[in-house]
């Protein structure tokens, strides 16, 4: 993965000093609450219900063992011994002290980490596929470009105070796993007719209050122009995006107001001036960064391993886990492994300090010292030998990291919700936990099969509820917490936004509501159908009818 040089290190060190002074001035009363707000937000610091929340950047989801050990130490020293991995592949601390944030940043800087632009109205952490570099369907490894874009976006002076947050995702696979259509800008890398790396650029997608799939603004962009083209897009947005109403300030609203054709022509007019400007990426720079993402020194292995096959045959628990948690790898004899942060009855995405140390050790011992965070809020060891999988499983299982539910109903994507977040309308974690307990039966879960259930505690949609096969949204009605349910949303190439099935439910009703949705699916499915297929084929009606049917009075 990318290693800092002197330039990178100097920048994060100077950032620590800058933020330390900003905090000092705030505490001394030299900065008002309102003035400090964007400063702390651009450093990932929210003021929450119980304490500030600090969001630490994990650029495009990649971590080294050393970094994860440090994060474990930080959560131990400055927080309550755990952290929360978010849907933007970042790590959130729920209980840090405002005065200690500069010290946390200083510790992060020692392992080439920071919290720059993890919140606020600026370009946020750039996300990508958690299997980048190892996925068999990968056409272009997007990580080098993601790093080039990370550097470009860091403290970009022109875009320091945008109308609203700005999220970019990059992807280089046949099957999109980075949800590029749901981002302010999505970049899909591919090889064009001349076998050159090109980018299909999407703009104006997003979740939140007004979920919209992005539109294609440019089918073919040579990779060298990625930065200048983004500058053209964001410049038009910076000047013309709404600033009078934060609910209507995302780029998607501007794109919709102008229409994609008018927006495109304004961007192209701007880009005519910016094209070939000095921010054009050079071959040398891409090569320098790409060196950090070269293939690991893999051993030459056969496609099968006898010890692995034997363990699968003799140990059903291991076989169950392997079925859900292993992913194909470019290299023969290797697998990518998802470690579940979704044990039933615990907050999705949370990891204790001890678990972080365990995962860091596993990565060190079995996966070249690196790991990834997925936007589904799990941890990935990307490069494990078949012959090591049993040992990885045993250690993961002993530490609560091997729930065999990856991709199943209880692998719930969930925001921190009303327990922690001051934006939330309703709690989300207790709903996730209750649903996990309702379906705490592995055979049944496997029978239900692949399904995505996403929960957000408010319109901001951190839990990506719109693109869940089942989506749950916390809403506030007259001061009490209710939950709106949608079905038929999906990520991937065939992305779609779910349809609301009807009036919302109380928290207590939610496990039974999900149960009824599953019952309809089980009853109606054809042998090859997943939940999403049945939901798409039948539409909302049969689900709605069953969920809202009056309970029959038993005589």
């Amino acid at each position: 993965m990318y290693k800092y040089d002197e330039i990178d290190q100097r920048l994060v060190d100077e950032r620590v000093a800058q933020y330390r002074d900003q905090t000092r001035r705030y505490l001394a009363g030299e900065l008002s609450e309102e003035e400090f707000r964007p400063l702390r937000l651009q450093n990932g610091l929210y003021i929450q219900r119980h304490a500030p929340m600090l969001r630490i950047a994990v650029p495009y989801g990649m971590l080294s063992s050393k970094q994860l050990h440090k994060l474990a130490d930080i959560t131990h020293k400055y927080d309550r011994n755990y952290g929360h991995f978010s849907t933007r592949q970042n790590l959130q601390l729920n209980w840090p002290k405002l005065e200690e944030i500069p010290d946390i940043l200083a510790e992060l800087a020692t392992v080439e980490m920071h919290a720059i632009q993890t919140s606020g109205n600026c370009i946020r952490n750039i996300t990508t596929d958690q299997f980048a570099g190892v996925a068999p369907d990968e056409v272009v490894d997007p990580r080098a470009m993601a790093e080039v874009m990370r550097q470009w976006s860091t403290f970009h002076p022109e875009f320091a105070l945008l109308p609203r947050k700005f999220k970019i995702a990059v992807s280089g696979t046949k099957e999109d796993r980075a949800v590029v259509q749901m981002h302010d800008v999505g970049m899909e890398f591919y090889l064009d007719g001349n076998k050159k790396v090109a980018i299909k650029v999407w703009v104006g997608g997003g979740l939140g209050r007004t979920p919209i799939l992005g539109a294609v603004i440019r089918e073919h962009l040579e990779w060298q122009h990625a930065l200048t083209y983004c500058e053209a897009i964001i410049r038009v947005y910076n000047l013309h995006g709404r600033r009078d109403n934060s609910y209507k300030a995302r780029i998607k609203i501007l794109v919709k107001a102008l229409g994609i054709d008018e927006f495109r022509s304004q961007v192209e007019a701007e880009w005519a001036h910016l094209k070939d400007a000095p921010n054009t990426i050079t071959e040398a720079e891409l090569a320098r960064v790409a060196k950090h993402f070269e293939a690991m020194p893999y051993a030459a292995l056969p496609a099968h391993d006898a010890s692995f096959d034997a363990a699968i045959a003799s140990n059903p628990a291991f076989a169950n886990w392997a079925k859900r948690s292993l992913h194909a790898h470019k290299t023969a004899g290797y697998r990518a492994v998802t470690l579940s942060l979704k044990p039933h009855g615990k907050a999705p995405g949370d990891a204790t300090s001890e678990q972080m140390h365990v995962v860091a050790d596993l990565a060190e011992q079995y996966s070249f010292g690196e790991l990834r965070v997925s936007h589904e809020q799990n941890l990935i060891l990307a490069d494990v030998k078949l012959s090591d999988l049993f040992a990885v499983w045993e250690k993961a299982r002993a530490n609560g990291l091997a729930t065999p539910n990856i991709g199943l109903l209880t692998d719930i994507i969930c925001c921190p919700g009303g327990d922690f977040c001051s934006l939330a309308n309703a709690k989300s974690i207790p709903i996730a936990e209750a649903i996990q307990m309702q379906f705490d039966n592995l055979d049944y879960l496997h029978d239900i099969g692949d399904i995505e259930l996403n929960i957000s505690g408010c319109m901001n949609a951190c839990g990506h509820h719109h693109i869940g096969h089942i989506g749950i949204l916390g809403v506030d009605k007259d001061g009490s917490e209710w939950y709106q349910v949608s079905i038929g949303g999906s990520q991937g190439n065939n992305a779609s936004i779910g349809s609301v099935i009807g009036p919302s439910f109380s928290a207590e009703e939610m496990p039974a509501v999900v149960q009824k949705l599953i019952d309809v699916y089980i009853k109606e499915r054809t042998p090859e159908e997943l939940f999403i297929d049945t939901a798409r084929r039948l539409g909302v009606a049969p689900f709605k009818a069953y969920v809202y049917a009056k309970d029959e009075v038993v005589a």
């Binding site: 040089d5 330039i7 100097r10 920048l11 100077e14 950032r15 800058q18 900003q22 003035e35 964007p38 400063l39 109205n121 550097q151 470009w152 976006s153 860091t154 403290f155 970009h156 002076p157 022109e158 875009f159 320091a160 105070l161 945008l162 109308p163 930065l227 410049r235 910076n238 000047l239 013309h240 995006g241 709404r242 600033r243 009078d244 109403n245 209507k248 300030a249 501007l254 107001a257 102008l258 001036h273 400007a277 000095p278 921010n279 990426i281 050079t282 040398a284 720079e285 320098r288």
Partner: protein, 205 residues
């Protein structure tokens, strides 16, 4: 003490403010200049400033003055001799359109100063306006940030082409000056240094 910071050859210093800013008289109708509606103004040609405001703006008879863009455009003939004498600058609001200025003043460098007024410091349109004035319109003279100008935006203002900053009256300009040096080796090319780090430094080591 003066609230004005000026940058000469990348060296910042506190300077005397020679320029008076001319304000529009308050409008009787509710101001409709919120962001986002600009697009609408452009499409409909709706004016943000009334005729009464334009004719009622009091411009001092002598001395160096920075006038609002709308007044500059409306009363340019009247101001022409003072423009020739280098006594007139122009200030724009963040919702205003630079093309309007360029349309009425072909040679921007006839103006010794252009100021961008930011009503709320969190409004980042001033950065783009600075960039455009420098790179698109070739403005070479003093570019000043006025209004809600605070220390923690100075580094970005500098990189966006501003070389003059009128710090909000209740803040210490001397201290604010320090933040112009928050970062010594920024990554991306911008107005003050168009070459990105990967061009400026040999990073292949």
């Amino acid at each position: 003490m003066s609230q004005l910071i000026k940058l000469n050859d990348n060296v910042a210093h506190i300077a005397e403010n020679e320029w008076a800013v001319v304000q529009l008289p308050p409008s009787l109708v509710e101001a409709r200049k919120q962001a986002g509606k600009v697009v609408l103004f452009k499409l409909t040609g709706e004016k943000t400033v009334s005729e009464e405001q334009l004719s009622g703006t009091v411009i001092p008879e002598s001395g160096k003055v920075i006038v609002p863009l709308s007044v500059f455009i409306a009363r340019k003939t009247q101001l022409q001799s003072r423009i020739n004498a280098g006594e007139i600058g122009v200030w724009v609001d963040t919702h205003e359109v630079l093309a309007d200025l360029a349309l009425h003043q072909a040679d921007l460098n006839q103006l010794p100063i252009i100021a961008v007024h930011v009503e709320r410091f969190a409004d980042g349109r001033n950065f783009t306006l600075g960039v455009l004035l420098r790179t698109r319109y070739g403005f070479k003279n003093e570019l000043r940030a006025i209004g809600d100008v605070l220390r923690d935006q100075l580094f970005f203002l500098k990189r966006s082409g501003f070389n003059s900053y009128l710090i909000r009256a209740d803040r210490n300009a001397e201290e604010a000056m320090l933040s112009l040096k928050d970062f010594s080796a920024p990554y991306q090319g911008a107005v003050d240094e168009p070459r990105p780090a990967f061009v400026r430094y040999n990073r292949t080591a």
